[in-house]
């Protein structure tokens, strides 16, 4: 008698049924386990679009599977078209996922220290395979995420979906909006370039305006009187750990509430004061498998393709300015676009009122909106006041955003503005994007732009002359001179000189242009 006996059941099966049928049966069993209830035949039937059997076997994964139990078994047919959701909430989660994946990859080549952070960025952009693409995707995804979350909020307001019983869903959505803004903003500092340092300095100084605790809050986030090693590390930890963690938790709560109450139907499709989203008769159901699932796969593919096309053939690239310099604030520095409205409000006057109290009231209004505005009807015709307020808010925020840009009320002296038009301090601008070989050395006068030896130089000098003309009043009898010198191999020194009052006054600025700067288009 054997001391122990090995029993492998599959061998018995093979003996009884033959090799191929046994393997097929085992594969089928494995697939059924992995999908928590769908066998190979059923998956094929789902993909073919066959009507489900009764009872519907395709609801089993929703009951038994971990991932699928987070998704509803079926949607109401009326929320399946683009209207009323525009898939904006779904897109927000999509972008959060994209940001998480690209962000984790970028972390491999990034160290949060002012000594090496900028160098890391240059490495990522020039030495790491797909590094530039990952950074571009991360940045582009962030811009899209902010836009999508804002539009999602606007849509929810317009369709009245924040009303009972979805008040708390709206509230958690408000938290997610703030988290999205802070996530994007905290990421701003990490490249440690001029844009990072000064945009974030402006943002953090807004917090300093908070009464009583402003100074302390400011020191806490900056980790010192100004941004340095401590500030960068703190923003990094917020960006890669604390804020994403809170965001994931709130996405969970938010989506759980969405499922509990179901997607609200288009406002015109239910009786005033009723919420029938959860009562979905059999004939109006659109099952997750296959309808919703295939649509989602389609959207993932299309959006990912769009993003990749934008950062490759589309030529969209995340900007990187010169290394952060705590001694020089670039002319025309602005906050990120989604904070421009705040910067615009700050131009209106008092920093405590317009920078802290007014935005504070606005944010709090967003949070309490569903508890204050309790009108029973979601129909557009009954909500003229609310919809008008929404329209006015959109216009007001656009106006404030415009006021936040440098076009409104911020200007330096005319001579510096003229030079900044050619070599702006916040982006590459015309001179730096002119091809290197189109800058032959010599001394050129802007009035003689027609005689310039190259096309690129001609455009620059014409722009120079045009800008000088704009300031005829401030700069009488002005002349613009551009001197190009060969400084080293592959490096040219360009001097822009503005003379006025017949040469009595002058202003000059030097720029060095490198052959391989990568600014040319």
């Amino acid at each position: 008698m054997a001391l122990f006996q090995i029993h492998i059941p599959i061998i018995d099966d093979i003996k009884a049924q033959g090799l191929v049928p046994t393997l097929l049966a085992k594969t089928d069993e494995a697939v059924t386990r992995l999908t928590a209830g769908l066998n190979v035949g059923e998956i094929r039937s789902v993909l073919r679009g066959d009507p489900p059997k009764r009872p519907n076997p395709r609801t089993k994964p929703h009951a038994d599977g971990f991932w699928m139990h987070m998704r509803p078994t079926y949607f109401h047919k009326k929320v399946m078209p683009l209207y009323p959701t525009f898939r904006l909430g779904w897109l927000a989660v999509y972008f959060l996922t994209i940001e998480t994946i690209t962000g984790l990859v970028l972390m491999l080549w990034y160290t949060p220290s002012p000594l090496v952070a900028f160098e890391n960025m240059q490495d990522i952009m020039s030495n790491v395979p797909f590094g530039m693409m990952m950074r571009d995707l991360h940045r582009l995804g962030a811009e899209f995420m902010v836009m999508v979350v804002l539009l999602h909020m606007l849509r929810t307001f317009i369709t009245g979906s924040y009303k009972k019983p979805r008040q708390f869903t709206w509230f958690t959505g408000g938290v997610l909006l703030l988290l999205t803004l802070f996530l994007s903003f905290s990421g701003y500092l990490l490249p440690w370039d001029q844009l990072s340092l000064w945009a974030v300095t402006i943002g953090a100084s807004m917090a300093e305006a908070t009464p009583v605790i402003g100074r302390e809050v400011n020191l806490l986030v900056r980790g010192g009187p100004d941004f340095g090693t401590n500030g960068l590390l703190r923003f990094y930890l917020l960006h890669v750990f604390a804020l994403p963690l809170i965001a994931f938790i709130f996405v969970g709560v938010h989506y759980y509430k969405v499922i509990i109450h179901a997607h609200s139907l288009p406002p015109g499709d239910e009786q005033v004061g009723e919420d029938t989203a959860r009562k979905v008769p059999m004939d109006t159901r659109s099952y997750f498998l296959p309808d919703v699932a295939t649509k989602e796969v389609y959207w993932i593919v299309m959006w990912t393709a769009l993003l990749i096309l934008m950062v490759t053939v589309g030529g969209w690239h995340a900007p990187l300015e010169p290394h952060a310099d705590s001694q020089v604030t670039p002319l025309h520095t602005t906050a990120p676009w989604y904070f421009l409205w705040l910067q615009g409000m700050l131009k209106l006057g008092d920093k405590v009122f317009w920078g802290v109290i007014a935005p504070g009231i606005l944010v709090n209004l967003v949070f309490v909106l569903p508890y204050l505005e309790v009108g029973p009807s979601r129909r557009y015709i009954h909500r003229r006041v609310g919809l008008t307020i929404a329209a006015v808010s959109v216009v007001a925020f656009s106006a404030l955003t415009y006021m936040g840009t440098p076009f409104y009320a911020v200007s330096s002296s005319a001579d510096q503005e003229v030079v900044a038009a050619l070599v702006p301090q916040t982006h590459p601008g015309p001179l730096r994007s002119t091809p290197f070989e189109q800058l032959p050395s010599g001394e050129y006068s802007a009035t003689q732009w027609k005689n310039a030896p190259s096309g690129g130089l001609r455009e620059l000098l014409e722009l120079f002359q045009h800008e000088l003309h704009k300031y005829d009043k401030e700069l009488p009898d002005s002349e613009g001179i551009m001197i190009i010198e060969d400084w080293q191999i592959g490096l040219k020194k360009v001097t822009l000189r503005v003379l006025w009052n017949d040469g009595d006054n002058s202003f000059a600025q030097n720029v060095f242009i490198h052959q391989n700067s990568g600014y040319e288009e």
Partner: protein
Amino acid sequence: MALFMAEMGGALVWFAFPRFKEGEFGGIITVPIADIPAPDSGPKDFPAARIWLVNLGKERLADERQPEEYTVKPGVKALYKICVHLGCLYKWVPTNNRFECPCHGSKYLTTGARIDGPANRNLDAFPFEFMDAQGNVLAKSGLMGSGNTVEGDALEIPSGAVALRIDTGQRIQGAPNSKPGGGT
């Protein structure tokens, strides 16, 4: 439970709060008299102390853009080089003979007076004292103005002074100033 959470929160804030060291910005910084600009010349940048040193002479004090409410005195002033609006570094623009902030366009005179918003007070300044070669204090800056126009004052260089000591830990806020063109 709530008490415990509050205690933990407090401990975290205490833990995370930055620490200051002596000798860096925040301590006393010494500038030789020879480095102080001549009266009425342009202001001079001292990055380590985060200041613009100005030396106000007759010409600067007679600037007609100066708002009337604020007291002016001839002499040296140590202006904190951070814009009181949102923390950008304002810069000296010789063409316009004033400080201009590149971020939101606040404008200041060399006296520290705000002449254009969105900032809502005059520039902040640091207290300072003049020392002679033996290390004696010859003169100490104080405050000037009254009511809501109190701010750091200016001091002329006393004879025999060899060094200027600036206390960058004691920032004096500029007086409130929010009218277009300057004034309370």
